[in-house]
Symmetry: C2
Subunit: 356 residues, 2 copies
Amino acid sequence: MTPPKSIKRSAIPPASAAGRRLPDRRQGVTLADVARLAEVSEITVSRILRNHGPAAPATRDRVLAAVRKVGYVPNRLAGGLASSGSKLVGVIVPSLTNIVFPEVLGGIRAALDGSGFQAVIGVSDYDLAVEEQLVASLLAWRPEAMIITGFQHTAAARAMLDGSGVRIAEIMEIDSTPIDLAVGHSHWQAGFDTGQYLLGRGYRRFGYVGHDWVADHRARLRYDGLVAALADAGLTLLGSSRCPGASSTAAGRDQLANLLESHSTLDVVVFSNDDMATGGVFHCLAAGIVPRSDLALFGFNGLDIGQALPTPLSTMRSNRFETGRTAVEHLLRQRERPAAPAIIDTGYQILPGATA
Amino acid sequence: MTPPKSIKRSAIPPASAAGRRLPDRRQGVTLADVARLAEVSEITVSRILRNHGPAAPATRDRVLAAVRKVGYVPNRLAGGLASSGSKLVGVIVPSLTNIVFPEVLGGIRAALDGSGFQAVIGVSDYDLAVEEQLVASLLAWRPEAMIITGFQHTAAARAMLDGSGVRIAEIMEIDSTPIDLAVGHSHWQAGFDTGQYLLGRGYRRFGYVGHDWVADHRARLRYDGLVAALADAGLTLLGSSRCPGASSTAAGRDQLANLLESHSTLDVVVFSNDDMATGGVFHCLAAGIVPRSDLALFGFNGLDIGQALPTPLSTMRSNRFETGRTAVEHLLRQRERPAAPAIIDTGYQILPGATA
DNA sequence: CTGTTAGCGCGTTCAG
DNA sequence: CTGAACGCGCTAACAG
């Protein structure tokens, strides 16, 4: 037995018998409301709002007027569900307080701009367990692509990413094999090149100042590259000082002071990044050490702050903005995963500066 | 004529006659797949996954095992649509490269943590037209609350926010009447207090260095407060230098150099914020000007970088993290808008530092 | 150029 | 403690 199947909203009700048509709950205005007002069907409104398929200018105007009149805001939950396409890109970065990542996001936003896509950002705090939760949580929004920092993920996170079928970009490094796409540069090589550059400038007595590299795996890779370059020249690091926790100018300043207490004869100190190195410059300024002539300092990233110092920091510029932009461009260019993973090197350049 | 209505997924198919059950499209595993495998109904799976309603430990285990087996990831688009509750909080900030905003987001994330809510972030680049688009775009995700920076919005943006019915927090300032809730501090008062503090320390010959205050309205308010405090003491700014564009250390350094060229007799310079003031300190270091004794410098925000300087910056600390956290806490505490708008002052404190 | 029909995947009734 | 129906708001296919 089939009852007359409750009348659909769009069925013309017995004139005004069905009662007033007010948004009963808060947030109640739907496509149907607009359609009714414009005297067209819902699908016509839908098509016009998405610029999809043809539309007579007249109906178009009527619909747009109706939209404005009732203050209609499309429901993307419904839209995404119906079209199985959320127009979302999930992004997971380890931090926002390290300025490098906002800059990457800048590149991502720039590339997304005008594409109709929206980034949903998750911050893992350099914690792989948190990252795993974020992967699950972002995947639940059925993003059309996912951008995640680095190659270090839990097995579960990797499985979810892989199994999701969506395109995945692993950014900021290229020293491993990606699930799908990697965009960034080689940190090991950057460390190695740093070593070679400084050796070429005549430095021989090397020190190192860094932060927590269990969390920040890429800092560790740069360190390893540096040490390898020194080894090639028959040298080793004479001293190093590392602090737990994230990088910061305060930490860089304190760690350099600490290192110099026990190693006063160094001629160059390499820092894990520009934040730390900037702190190192601050220590020098406070302690009357003249950068380069008394002690050379070298950073990594090419941050604005380092270049604004009284003595611009000698460092490697990484191309963060471009990394974000490139990742999005490639992800959106081809919506299916390619047969084999690809790697894009966005490189880095030496900024000579004045501290080394 | 009604064809036998395509068999519903949940209908038991004629044994294996219906063929293999593979996720036909990519991304195919749904509640129904889990339910079939665990031999329960979809709703049981749904309830167990949400810890909602009772569940026998035995079924529970079977369901969770099935979830893991097939790698099920809930579809929040569908969930949100069905329950009309997205568990999303929209956040709009003007910038991510100004470290203040990542810090606010840190507070927002801290408060959201464990609540099951997720923040969706939009960045307006200090552009009200972009902000308006973001409001529409974020509202389309049917967030359960919205956090937006400042009081300056287009009429359309304000109308959408107001009409959405969701709770709205306008953060970072409290000098106007909010739509619903404001969390932050008074920038005018902060500027005024800065002036009084510096007057109290004996400074009389004031200069000002700032950035684009058409975009950054709060910097303008602080300036106005400062000028008012000077006026109360019968003083005026002797000189000021402002650059277009965003604040940065480089801009602060250059603008201070510029200002001092034409105004060499100043005894104190107030900066629009700590980034600019840090640049000012850099100029002093480069030019051999001793902060405080030769020229006093004062910033705003209390950033880590300023406190790590060889001469810690004299500044006002704003409580960004707490602002973000407090906004979320209040928004989630009460899901309906209160009768009258509320204002929460998260205050600021003078950091004496060593530059003024 | 426009409308009709049939779901998207889930959660909310209400029954058992 | 579990299940069957129904619809959230929208869009993909077809018609016409």
